[in-house]
Amino acid sequence: MARLASSRWSIVLGLAIVIAALPFLFPSNYYFRVAAIVNIFALAVVGLNLLMGYAGQVSLGHAGFMGIGAYSVAIGSAHFKLHGLLAMLIGAALAGLVAFLVGRPILRLKGHYLAVATLGFGLLISMALANEAAWTGGPDGMGVPRLEILGYRLRGPDTWYYISGGALLIGVILALNLIESPTGRAMRAIHDSEIASRVAGIDVAAYKLRIFVLSAIYASVAGSLMAFLNGHITPDGTAGFLRSVELVTMVVLGGMGSVVGAIVGAAVLVILPQALTIFHDYEHLMLGLIIMVSMILLPRGIVPSLLARLRGGGA
């Protein structure tokens, strides 16, 4: 059972079935919307999990890349009249480029230092988005023109549920491919011993940078999808510090180094506050509480804990 759950194609097949079957359980558009948000966060978290769970490098500023993806779509469509999809590609390239440039110096850091440097980087991006009001509409955000493909305007949450589900599926397949490749082994090796990795001929700095860039592109695409789904974006909502913290929490909550865990973590952290928050004012309180409680009670994450139990409670 455990072996089955971790084999590549059963994960992909299972996920495809879940994405296709869930809509039969949705009583209203609201559910499609929440599920689409889960898909989008899951996509970003699958990417971040490659960086954190596999390569062992924390990023507390990853929402910054989501912001780049979201605002590329918004600014590209609104100011430059680009097609939404092209703007999304440009956003992904831009996020990758930014990650490449800042990753080089930042990824030399370890532990707390890396956490704080990435946090600062994320703050810088959301600061820039809030400050450059002429382009971004400032702290109140800006509208995103609807995506149009072959004359169809994509707007309903159900449409975006299926699109984001497809994107997530692709993201998962690519991530699973990578994990089972020499790059994947290099990533995991770096996580466990940088010294042994280097002695084995792995250019540790180059690999960290590659994974950082890749995870930034995942986040950027997720940000673009979020912009399309919501039709309106704000610096805090896409790139803010809280978003970055949520992404990291999703990775750890689901289980570091587990692709399925990334999706579960995203689902739990998106749905739980929706279910628990009766009053908008309690949002921060609940989020903080959920983060603390889950980290204390499930430091290894949901999916690895469950798998361990399936294997017969063994270590």
Binding site: L174, N177, L178, E180, S181, P182, T183, G184, R185, A186, R188, A189, H191, D192, S193, I195, A196, S197, R198, V199, A200, G201, I202, D203, V204, R210, L214, G257, A315
Partner: protein
């Protein structure tokens, strides 16, 4: 005399005033086993760290295959055919034993990330090839039975051999082994002894640090005795064993039991 594969020339490093390695020169020939012995804290591991690019020497040079490689980082040295094991294990604990060895194949694998993301047929074929080679090496060090176990769950003796297999997977021209038999039982030591022999026979140069005197005296072509960072005596096992300075300086502190066994 054949062309030396590794040469160090007056290699030195100090930590806070203490000269951990002090003007050590040595040469290692292909296919030969060159051992370094000396009491605890003599600087053997530090010498390895200097040669393998983990520490920068404060003075002196390292030459690999005639090329000056002083100060090059370990990954560059790996590409030039230098690999090593660690006294304090450096294992990829969360990976399977087989994956640990497959990491050693890294420098021979293609590194196009796009190919990896899309799992191109060539990548899958390469994966299979690396896996076969890794399994072969695990077989060679007697670990075939635990290939799919997580490395973190293996015994100390098994991990010591896993490190050797991983180092061999890089197909080195020179292999540095830091106390490969420490903590191993008699049977495991036997196995390691045989592997080192085979490795040397295949033309790879071996630089060995080992406290097990019987092993050292039996398999070495050349022995260097280090004391407080300085090279004390250097020669064949026979000359070193009979040198009075070694007996007092080294065996004296290390215990007569070893001397007798040797």
């Amino acid at each position: 005399m054949s062309f030396p594969l590794l040469e160090t020339d007056n290699l030195s490093i100090a930590f806070g005033g203490i000269k951990a390695v002090d003007s050590v020169s040595l040469t290692v020939q292909p296919g030969k086993i060159h051992s370094i012995i000396g009491p605890n804290g003599a600087g053997k591991t530090t010498l390895f760290n200097l040669i393998s690019g983990l520490y920068q020497p404060s003075s002196g040079r390292v030459k690999l295959g005639g090329e000056d490689v002083t100060g090059l980082p370990p990954e560059q040295l790996a590409r030039r055919g230098l690999s090593r094991s660690f006294q304090n294990l450096q294992i990829f604990f969360r990976m399977s034993a087989c994956d640990n060895v497959m990491v050693g194949r890294h420098r021979h694998e293609k590194t196009s990330m796009l190919g990896h993301l899309f799992a191109l047929p060539s990548v899958r074929a390469e994966n299979a090839r690396s896996r076969d080679l890794a399994m072969g090496l695990l077989e060679r060090v007697g670990l075939a039975g635990v290939a799919n176990k997580e490395a973190g769950s293996l015994s100390y003796g098994a991990l010591k051999r896993l490190e050797i297999a991983r180092a061999l997977a890089t197909e080195p021209r020179i292999l540095l082994l830091d106390e490969p038999a420490a903590g191993c039982n008699a049977i495991e030591t036997e196995e390691i002894d045989r592997v080192i022999h085979d490795v040397a026979k295949s033309g790879i140069a071996v630089l060995l640090v080992e406290h097990d005197m019987r092993l050292v005296m039996r398999i070495s072509d050349h022995v260097l005795v280090l004391e407080r960072g300085k090279s004390l005596v250097s020669g064949t096992p026979e000359t070193v064993r009979n040198d009075p300075r070694v007996i007092t300086a080294y065996l004296g502190t290390f215990g007569t039991e070893e001397a007798n066994r040797a």
